[in-house]
Amino acid sequence: MKTLLYFAFRNLMRQKRRALLLGSAMALGTCFLVLASSFVAGISQTLFDRVMTYVAGHTSVIVCDRGFMYRTAMRGEAGFKERIAKLPHVKKVDETIGIMSRIVGPTKGDNGILIGTDMDAQMSQAELRDLEDNFPMVSGAFKDLTRTDVPNPAILSKGKAQYLGLKSGDGFSARFQDSRGRMQVGKFTLVGIFQPSNAFMEAPFFVSMRHAKQLLDMDSTDLPYLYLTLENPTVNAKIVADTIFKMFEPGLAALPVRLENGKSVVTAVAAGVKADSAARSRMASYLGAGIPWKGDVVALPERMALELGVKVGDTVRVVSGISRGGDTISDRAVLAGIWQPPAGAEGLVLWEEDAFQSSRSFRRSQSLDSGLAQAKAASSLLDTLLSPNWVRMNRALTTDDVRDQMRQIGARSWKAPVVAVRTMYETGEQIIKLADALNLITLVAVLILFLVVLTGVVNALRMTVRERTREIGTLRSLGMQASQVRTLFLMEAGLLSFLSALAGTALALAAMFGLSQLTFPIEGNPLSMLLVRGHLVFVPEVLATLGQILLVIAMAVVAAWNPASQAAKLSPANALRHHE
């Protein structure tokens, strides 16, 4: 074998020009293959690690209040963020706030998306750099969002600032709907202007996450949208999503309340009770004669009704908390009936679901479900009538599913907060398609390369076999087996392709180095989202490159198989008789 290999090597050297030509073609092909696949890997990395994490997260948690799509907060459930951050494969969990808003300058207004940028949290230098990469600043910097000397520091795009007639330091206002559905207007100070890399990036209107939450009337106990950055997202996105989906197993909802009737006050725990027609008839059987279970109604244990001094038909004030603005969140509910609580639920007030969930959603949330034990005790009696803490949407598996689901969420008046868990495969399909398309291009390149190598190797080898026919005869006479002759030619092809592939890889690495030194303008460049700080990104992967080298060798060997076999099949006598 060693002899054959040595011999093969010497043979390669014999036809230097031909070997060099074919070798160069293969080297160029390999170079292109390695370059292309590294580029695609680079783009994929950029797409998945930089773009996707902004656009949709590798995996995301979507929340909204009872089908109000723009009320993107689940009260009192911020704890999920910590729990999700501890899951395996989760690198980072970002709270995400993006709200349609109307930006109003001195003379005119324009639409924009108010985006909360987490300047307080663990934003690394690299992340900050990424952010400023995606939104290159013309004036100011993202850290200016943390300024305290001006009200609500904000950053706008150059186009938007120009249209609105704003320059750095100017004040402006913006109107938007807060997380509780109220129209709000905020005063902002323009502290920075960015030059968007493309028209789609015109819309963002950045404020610090802290301000955004204040403006939207959210606090640290509220759970907003979460965008997750994962290790190896293509593998883990679905796994993590399924895990989070399980974490959001719906349970029962309970809410501490204070009941008032004039001077009489009772503290209690409320649970929501459904009020559809089926529920209504069941409630009628529980409550006996009384007021129909419909509208803002409550049912109290007898002791409580006595303490409050109310009877069926009377109105009770239900205080469920204090809002951020300091207002008492209260409701006037009609006592529809007296109910007999089972053991463990003696302090439980049954409250019509809509009013209950609405109060639950408007309360400034401490521990929302602190009376859960009572609700659970009551569930032995009330079973399916009790209102859930949230509604979990099924995992949508395709982009179409997600679209349908969004429509469903928005069109129905859900009785509880809604949560959905998604992966980039449903939400960032465009980006994945782009990555797939690039992979396809690489595949086509491989096929073209294969053709080049195939025809090149086949032709060169046929020629070589013809030229060396007499030599083959000689070798056969000397006792070389037919199979050894075939091996010899395969080795020659393999060796040539191996050396070419090595050279091609070296060339590719050099080209990558060279190309990544170039700086491309980001302004007005639609492809700039694929660049990192204006540079192309190549990610040569050792395994992939080794694979590609092997692939080139394999292709050459496969191509050489037929001519090599022809050479092996020559009859020694005929071969000896051959005259060039």
Binding site: T474, L478, L576
Partner: protein, 225 residues
């Protein structure tokens, strides 16, 4: 004892639309230690005879025994093995491997055999190069050697495996007469010193004086011994 026994050997091969009857029933024996010359004009079938004896070509009919083995019933693999172990070849056009040095050319059959360690192979090849008188040229490529030198290398290559039989097809045809003589003398010496059986074909009657036995072939048939 005969190293080769041939009985009723017929060889036909197609040439265009006709069939060439290269050998028409040849029977002969080659004794061990022979230095035999096969003489005949061009196209008389001597090369075909040598090829069949050397197991590089197959008989159309008849029997050919080499070293006791009936070669007509052997597979290509077995024939190749037989060539490797028992037969050496010397060609009219020398047929050295151009990419290998003289020394490597001689080593090559031994390396193919793969039975001796590399050092032994080298030693043996050197000895043979010395024996054929071109020591000092072992690192030269064939193209750097004269015709006579090349043929000496070829003889060394043929002998390196200690074959039972060396077949030389017109070994001097491409050499001037002086060099040809020296080559034949070399073969003669090897025959005497090593007892290697040599069969060489020639169309040159001058060459015959080196042969111990002469077989004449004409139109595919032996013309008496």
């Amino acid at each position: 004892m005969n190293i080769v026994e041939i009985r009723d050997l017929v060889k036909n091969y197609p040439l265009g639309n006709t069939t060439v009857h290269a050998l028409r029933g040849v029977s002969m024996d080659i004794a061990q230690g022979a230095l035999m010359s096969v003489v005949g004009p061009s196209g008389s079938g001597k090369t075909t005879l040598l090829n069949i004896v050397g197991c590089v070509d197959s008989a159309t009919s008849g029997s050919v025994k080499v070293g006791g083995s009936e070669t007509t019933s052997l597979s290509d693999r077995e024939l190749t093995f037989l060539r490797l172990r028992k037969i050496g070849f010397i060609f009219q056009t020398f047929n050295l491997v151009p990419v290998l040095t003289a020394l490597e050319n001689v080593e090559f059959p031994l390396l193919l055999q793969g039975t001796l360690p590399k050092a032994k192979v080298r030693e043996k090849a050197r000895q043979l190069l010395e024996a054929v008188g071109i020591l000092g040229h072992e690192q030269h490529k064939p193209a750097e050697l004269s015709g006579g030198q090349r043929q000496r290398v070829a003889i060394a290559r043929a002998l390196v495996t200690d074959p039972d039989l060396v077949l030389a097809d017109e070994p001097t045809a491409n050499l001037d007469s002086e060099t040809g003589d020296s080559i034949l003398r070399l073969m003669q010496t090897m025959n005497q010193e090593r007892g290697t059986t040599f069969v060489f074909s020639t169309h040159d009657p001058q060459v015959l004086r080196y042969a111990k036995d002469v077989v004449r072939i004409h139109d595919g048939q032996l013309a008496g011994g």
